[in-house]
């Protein structure tokens, strides 16, 4: 019963993306921007490497804006429309509903990521890249998207207003990026002890994303991303429970 309920909710949620124009707008914008970043800003050709580094380098920044856009409606919409009352009085535990909705959006992001396959074909056509590294990069992107999404899930539970949920998620995700962003860490290094700089940077998604870009699947990085997701989803549950308790 447990998993079927999760599957039912997740299926409905995923279908909901494609029943509204949101999915198509998102996919088109994502793919256009991914292409733009990779080829123009990333300097895919100028790098002269048979790799997708130009693509992966920009993904955290692209996800920063687009993932909160995907996650912002998750719970705020349920609250606005009052369907949360319907959903949570059905025979389902709150955590199942949270996980189901999260998984659905995560799958949607996975679909978006998979649609960048022409890049993989292009780079294989032009050169002889290490496809293992590319695969690791994609795994990193997927986990990064999941981490951002869980944050958006949390902020969307806070408010029935999607715009507020979006902005809050964006700010929180930005913090997760900035604490490991080189300009910020070097600024910090001017006065803070090395240990502090490293501690702060350890909380950054950038620090943990780098490994995947190099083709390294480090268990510490995996644990980092999964803990962010677990923590954010747990917090979502706390927020929802406190709303219901009044």
């Amino acid at each position: 019963m447990n998993s079927t309920v999760i599957k039912t909710i997740a299926t409905r949620e995923l279908a909901a993306y494609f029943e509204s124009p949101v999915a198509y707008v998102f996919l088109v914008v994502f793919l256009l921007l991914a292409g733009f970043f990779t080829f123009s800003l990333g300097g895919f050709f100028e790098l002269g490497e048979a790799s997708l580094n130009a693509f992966f380098n920009w993904m955290p920044w692209l996800f920063l804006f687009l993932v909160p856009a995907v996650g912002m409606r998750l719970w705020s919409e349920e609250r606005r429309q009052g369907t949360m009352e319907l959903l949570l009085t059905m025979p389902v535990a709150t955590w199942q509903a949270i996980v189901a909705k999260f998984v659905a959006s995560w799958l949607f992001l996975a679909i978006a990521l998979l649609l960048t396959f022409p890049l993989v074909i292009t780079v294989n056509w032009l050169g002889d890249p290490d496809n293992g590294v590319i695969l690791a990069g994609y795994v990193g992107c997927f986990l990064l998207a999941g981490a951002f999404l869980s944050v958006a899930c949390f902020t969307s539970a806070l408010t029935r207003n999607q715009v507020i949920a979006f902005i809050l998620a964006l700010v929180l995700c930005l913090l997760l990026i900035l604490c490991g962003f080189t300009p910020v860490t070097s600024l910090l290094a001017r006065w803070a002890p090395q240990a502090l700089v490293e501690t702060v940077a350890a909380f950054s998604v950038l620090t943990h994303f780098e490994g995947f870009q190099k083709g390294v699947l480090d268990s510490r990085d995996l644990i980092f991303f999964f803990s962010i997701m677990a923590f954010a989803l747990f917090t979502t549950g706390v927020v929802i429970r406190s709303h219901r308790a009044g």
Binding site: M1, T4, V5, T8, I9, R12, A15, A16, E19, S20, R79, Q81, G82, T83, M84, E85, L86, L88, T89, M90, P91, V92, A93, I240, H243, R244, A245, G246
Partner: protein, 323 residues
């Protein structure tokens, strides 16, 4: 099948529900009455497990809603107050989703959805998205969702709100029909509805139960229930008043109009002394003995409306939004 004991809910410093206890057995249709903000919806939300009670317990078919929520919820069909639904879905997809959530698969699901669609007359709008529907259809779609798994317990928060008179009638007969083998609670503002569909009614005011009984029992609580109104031709009004007042079992005699030679009086029974509706005979007998000419005589039936107004107080506070 529904057992509520001492259920209470505080929203911050405000007590929304204050120690409510009642039971609903199979075959009963319980009407929930009360002014806005009296705690009807909050009580229903606690019974359905949407909001946790501050104190007290509610159980459905023996399953406590706090300790064993999944088993309890499985046996409940619930229509929330504003009849919410996923607006971007079609009616058909939405009902299938609800059926799957209730663990119905394959043929069982098809049959359940088909029956709910028929009961709520949704055949014509199955492939429409819910957002394009009129309020009445939206409401019935959500109602269909609540009955499709044939639950033992039905909790309906204002099921006829926003429906036209024909639809109201249909929903009421649906409730009455289903009431024979289920335990149903429904809330309403419409008092005729209670008389039309309920076997019992509870009136809630400021979070407390102020009346609990069959619609007839409640009506008997009205001040003029069982009172005899009559128009007499001939005798002087003060004489009539004096004689009637002396009659056994009369609490008070009220002169409504005096236009010689006619007098229009109402005789109120002393409910403690008589069963309330036996007064007409005694009054008529007296009139005959005195040689009064009776033009009209009838026994008043109490109005639920009057009872409701006499035992509840108007509430000006807005109803609290949850989540």
């Amino acid at each position: 099948m529904i057992k509520v004991q001492n259920l209470s809910k505080w929203f911050g410093p405000k007590k929304a529900v204050d120690g409510i206890s009642f039971e609903v057995v199979k075959g009963e249709v319980l009407g929930f009455l009360g002014p806005n903000g009296a705690g009807k919806s909050t009580t229903m939300r606690m019974i359905t497990g949407f909001i946790p009670p501050t104190a007290g317990t509610a159980s459905v078919c023996g399953f406590d809603i706090v300790d064993n929520p999944i088993e309890a919820k499985r046996r409940i069909g619930y229509l929330p107050e504003a009849a919410p639904s996923y607006h971007e879905m079609t009616v058909f997809a939405f009902l299938n989703f609800a059926a799957e959530m209730r663990g119905l698969r394959g043929d069982a699901r098809r049959k359940a959805v088909g029956q709910a669609v028929e009961s709520c007359s949704l055949q014509g709008v199955l492939s429409q998205t819910i957002e394009t529907l009129s309020k009445g259809f939206k409401h019935r779609t959500c109602l269909a969702q609540s009955i499709l798994h044939d639950p033992e317990v039905l909790i309906l928060d204002e099921p006829t709100d926003g429906l036209d008179p024909n639809q109201k009638h249909e929903v009421r007969s649906l409730i009455r029909r289903m009431g024979t083998d289920k335990a149903i609670i429904f809330s309403t503002h419409i008092l005729e509805e209670v008389e039309a569909a309920c076997t019992r009614a509870i009136i809630i005011d400021r979070g407390r139960i102020v009346a609990n009984g069959t619609p007839q029992e409640l009506k008997d609580r009205a001040d003029n229930a069982g009172a005899v109104s009559m128009v007499l031709d001939g005798p002087a009004t003060d004489q009539v008043q004096a004689r009637l007042g002396a009659l056994a079992g009369v609490r008070k005699v009220e002169v409504l109009e005096s236009q010689p030679p006619h007098s229009f009086v109402r005789v109120y029974p002393d409910k403690a002394a008589t069963d309330g509706y036996a007064l007409a005979g005694a009054v008529a007998e007296l009139a005959v003995r005195e040689g009064w000419k009776i033009e009209q005589l009838h026994t008043e039936e109490g109005k639920l409306d009057d009872v409701f107004r006499s035992i509840t107080l108007p509430d000006t506070q807005p109803e609290r939004q949850v989540a």
